[in-house]
Amino acid sequence: MSRAEVSGSAQHTGTREGAGAGAGGAGAGGVDARRTARPLWSLGLLRNEVGTTFRRWRTVVLLAVLAAVPVLIGIAVKIETGGEGGGAGGGSGGAAFVSQITNNGLFLVFTSLAVTLPVFLPLAVGVVAGDSVAGEAHTGTLRYLLVAPAGRTRLLLVKYATTLTFCLVATLVVAASALVTGALLFPVGEVTLLSGTTVPFGEGLLRALAIAAVVTLSLIGVAAIGLFVSTLTNSGIAAMATTVGLLIMVQILDTIPQLHAIQPYLFTHHWLSFADVLRDPVYWDRLQQNLGLQALYAAVFGSAAWARFTARDITV
């Protein structure tokens, strides 16, 4: 504390003169009572939130695990097919692509996304989304953000936008790791699509990028569910566990044949439709169903999160 020399008296004048600095010259400059919010300044919180999220150890570890998956798949395929040709084992979703990896490293991208989309990616998103509000409540920082004042709606939007940014980054990390691993371990070249037509490598890359976009958008539903759960509790761990638990439950429901009537409405149901991007022409039906369903989940659970968070007593 810089100024120790002040008068001992705690007497005050009744009113203040305007917005000028007080006699003591407050360290932070003149008292400006009429500061007002600026739309552009509002974006500062989003920037800070994204930066803070990606600086956390937990986020870095999650991304590292995601980056390791394609490497492991690549090495496994390389070992399994070493010397002899053919012979594909492989993950459930990516079975169609695995056999092609040895011919074209680009297929490691499709395989890796197909393997990580059902489990690893939504799990990571569940962790980030579940912790987003509940984690702040748990540490008590939520009350200081709110009296800053971050604004409840603004804070919620920032949290959701940051979670979506994480969805995008996580997907790109998987894709980039797969691309590099694929290019190092296997030959790359023209891509034979699922419909049999062959396209140049450049177009194959573009389609890979399009798939990454579809995978990212496939995660906005689970991100919204995580955000909603996160507004319900003051424990980040509980919110993460609940979100991941819901995800697993929905995945199980999606495999029970007797439930086929409700399955089209489960947010995981159309996830693997992204393979349709690899057809010529692209099949839009299931892609559209998937994205429509994700938008519906985002709208419903986003609204629920908003209704809950804006009405909630912050007692921690």
Binding site: V6, A10, T52, T139, L142, L145, V147
Partner: protein, 321 residues
């Protein structure tokens, strides 16, 4: 308490009530009036509803009934306009352990949409400097001691020049130097025209810095007013230090002083209430000396805020359920 126009009140509550979901009535029809420019001590035993009141004032929890105005505007409706002008420390600091002290402040500042990002770095450094944390600014907050965390929490409240500071237990965990510095800081801020609303259990702390005070018990406001007026209600005692206690006792009794107590070489007693007295203390002293009483010390002890507090809220130690 003098009558003031509503515009001069920085905090004003009317019938403010909070019943928690469990049915606990935490704050019961509170009518609080904090004049502009005051350093206002908010007192009460544990669980009397101070933090609950502060949370309602800042829009963190919704009142069950009644309302509050902060800086003349209704809360929580006007939160966006009002809160940038209010700095707060609520139930101790809360920090991001994985961020440095400095980055913690940057984050809280970024949360304020009325904070200019161009001056952010400078304001953060000044706030750190002000609470004596400049040297530890790059340390991770999880490695801070309790007092350092408290100081960082205060720094967050000082990121901007504020019209009102709401400080819930600001000296909690601070070393004696820290407490002194907080006192100095509060006086300095008050000198600059900031109203300071301060809750604390350290009553001599409050007595040293506050101009006004309010006392809560079991969710209800027992009294509020200037500290001088509160202490005046509890009359002080006259204390005479002398080896001639017996003679002193006689002389004091003659001057209408009651409830006389002799302890070793000290005689204390209550001065008579206004209609009959109190007598001019100079006369009393002269009478003692005339009577051959050798006086070592002579004076009144004003009732401390602690005396007032205990008198108002009772001696009992147990927290009300």
């Amino acid at each position: 308490m003098t009558q003031q126009s509503a515009g001069d009140r920085v905090i004003e509550t009317r019938g403010l009530t909070k019943r928690y979901r469990g049915g606990q009535l935490a704050v019961d029809r509170l009518d609080l009036a904090v004049p502009r420019g005051s350093v206002f001590g908010f007192l009460g035993p544990n669980g009397s509803g101070k933090t609950t009141t502060i949370r309602m004032l800042l829009g963190l929890i919704e009142p069950s009934a009644g309302g509050a105005r902060l800086l003349g505007e209704p809360m929580p409706r006007a939160a966006r306009r009002v809160l940038p002008r209010v700095g707060a420390l609520i139930e101790g600091p809360a920090l991001y352990g994985f961020l440095s002290g400095r980055d913690n402040l940057v984050r809280f500042d970024a949360a304020d949409p009325a904070a200019d990002p161009r001056t952010r770095a400078r304001r953060v450094d000044q706030a750190l400097d002000r609470v004596g944390l400049a040297a530890a600014a790059r340390k991770k907050a999880r490695a801070y001691s309790l007092g350092m965390k408290q100081r960082l929490g205060l720094a967050a409240a000082l990121l901007q020049p504020r019209d009102l500071l709401v400080l819930d237990e600001p000296t909690n965990g601070l070393d004696p130097q820290g407490m002194r510095e907080i006192r100095t800081l509060v006086r300095e801020l008050a000198g600059d025209g900031t109203t300071v609303f301060l809750s604390s259990h350290l009553l001599d702390e409050i007595e040293q810095v506050c101009t006004h005070a309010a006392v809560m018990a079991r969710g209800r406001l027992i009294t509020q007013g200037t500290v001088a007026a509160l202490s005046a209600d509890t009359r002080g005692r006259l204390t005479v230090g002398t080896p001639d206690a017996a003679d002193a006792l006689r002389v004091l009794k003659e001057h209408g002083i009651t409830d006389l107590v002799v302890t070793e070489e000290r005689v204390t007693g209550d001065l008579p209430a206004p209609p009959a007295g109190p007598p001019d203390l100079a006369d009393v002293n002269a009478a003692l000396v005339r009577a051959g009483v050798r006086v070592r010390s002579f004076g009144t002890e004003r009732a401390s805020l602690e005396d007032v507090f205990v008198q108002l809220t009772g001696e009992g130690f147990d927290v009300a359920g």
